[in-house]
Symmetry: C2
Subunit: 301 residues, 2 copies
């Protein structure tokens, strides 16, 4: 479970750390980026520094959001750490998409636990992101090899989750399936109706099999009807109205129709941002609003 | 001189435009990114919106800084437009580095006018950046095909310049050689002593020839002794103390030793940022300080 620090990069008031560790869930080495805010270094945090997990989209590594979403200044402003997991296991023995696509297998783990061979050996990103990684980070930061700094970071309890596209799906599904774990959830252009849209159908078929009853456990459109609302919790979602994937691959209207009749009515806020697309230009624009939202739920403001 | 708008991307309060046009200086089509701030769209600017030119570093296209430097929010805050030129001409007929490197020729135009064949046909980036492009943008925004918006942008007169690494060199040299054109200059980790450091020596030899007297016209270490100080003008420079290129490729101490005895003594501020490297994590961290510096010189604050 030990981590290796590959790079430590000064950024804003803190540091971006590129680390790697060996994962039991995926059977591979996994890359993770961490942003440790100013408060980790100057010791001004009141108590433990909470953390926000950012799940990335198809084809991404931990670097895309680290470079382009610009969470750093917001993390310093409120005093939370960021965790950027990878989007899948990688390596010579990890099976790839038999169709040669970029929307399944490597770079496209979809944050589920695969049950179908050959993917079930490595593609256990649900277990990895929501359980193994938080525990491993907690152990790492309690060890003698923890990154230099005076603060204490909470990777397990006072935590929230967000993500983009496939990672937005992963954040919403993971939040609802771990409703006592995360304080809040947000998403940028999530694949919110995965059982009827092409990316989700391909991934769920490949990882979970043809039997659609197995898909329901990860389907946000189902989960909002099955997971009882927990007081104080909220989900914030943004879509760009000019998102090139929205009509066919995301279909937010399917989800939005279900929310008012669901157990989560009035606690899910889906906002349509006029003229924005699916890119990190969109994500970075709304990061300050999402940061403030999570900071409130994490007790920082 | 007509521009084609390839993409118009909503970002922060304005839009990032990816445009292309035909250049006489380079004999090629040239890509340019523009950030048009909120004030271009809402008409709240008092008078013409000034612009800030950002010259990028080795291997970059206009996209690197657009995606990773985070000027957008600062441009909205003060009300200036951004111009991100490409780093060189590109195309099937543009000569490449005979050594196959990434530090000369394509992606590495160094913002000079080449005199040596075969580079002198296309590699006239000095002429392109400081003269042709500003004029072409002015014509474009005066034409019937200008980007939709209500504001008026000044690309010619109330303008400033900045850049990173090779582009930081280009900004400082271009500023000093056009001292009545730009209101202010800043640079992130500029190649400030190009006549004694490897990247500069390779570029100047290839573009300008073996005769080092031809190199002086672009050398910041010479220009600060030859260009009389103009009242009110200033240069702001940041380096990261952990910049991996600093010792061998940038050598700021050579320049800093000359400043106090130069015509520009007390008007060039070189700051060393503890622990920062050469990357866009460094650039984006100091963009707010540079934005405020330019906004002051452009009369916006």
């Amino acid at each position: 479970m030990s981590f290796k620090i590959k790079e430590e990069i000064r950024c804003a008031g803190g540091k971006l750390l590129k680390v790697m560790h060996s994962s039991k869930a995926t059977g591979t080495s996994m890359d993770v980026n961490l942003y440790l805010p100013q408060q980790y270094y100057d010791g001004t945090a009141k108590g433990k520094i909470p953390s926000l997990y950012f799940l990335s989209g198809l084809t991404c590594t931990p670097n895309n959001a680290s470079e382009k979403a610009f969470w750093h200044r917001e993390a310093d402003k409120y005093g939370f750490a960021m965790v950027f997991p990878d989007t899948s296991p990688r390596g010579p023995n990890v099976p790839t998409d038999p169709q040669g696509g970029w929307d399944f297998a490597v770079g496209a783990g979809f944050y589920v636990n695969a049950t179908q061979p050959p993917y079930n050996t490595n593609f256990n990103m649900y277990q990895y992101v929501h359980s193994e990684l938080p525990t491993a980070l907690t152990e790492f930061f309690s060890s003698g090899t923890r990154p230099t700094g005076v603060g204490s970071i909470d990777f397990l309890e006072n935590v929230s989750i967000t993500g983009h596209s496939m990672g937005g799906f992963g954040a919403v599904a993971g939040f609802l399936k771990n409703i006592n774990k995360y304080k809040s959830c947000s998403a940028f252009a999530p694949i919110i109706d995965p059982t009827t849209t092409p990316w989700g159908v391909k991934a769920f078929t490949g990882y979970l099999g043809e039997d659609k009853s197995a898909w329901k456990q990860y389907d946000p459109c189902e989960l909002i009807n099955n997971v009882p609302y927990v007081s104080g919790k909220e989900i914030l979602i943004h879509y760009g109205t000019d998102d090139q994937w929205k009509e066919q691959y995301l279909r937010p209207e399917n989800f939005m129709k279900l929310v008012p009749q669901s157990l989560w009515a009035n606690h899910i806020n889906v906002k349509m941002a006029e003229g924005f697309d699916h890119s990190y230009y969109f994500v970075s624009t709304f990061v300050p609003e999402h940061a403030e939202f999570h900071a409130k739920h994490l007790g920082l403001i």
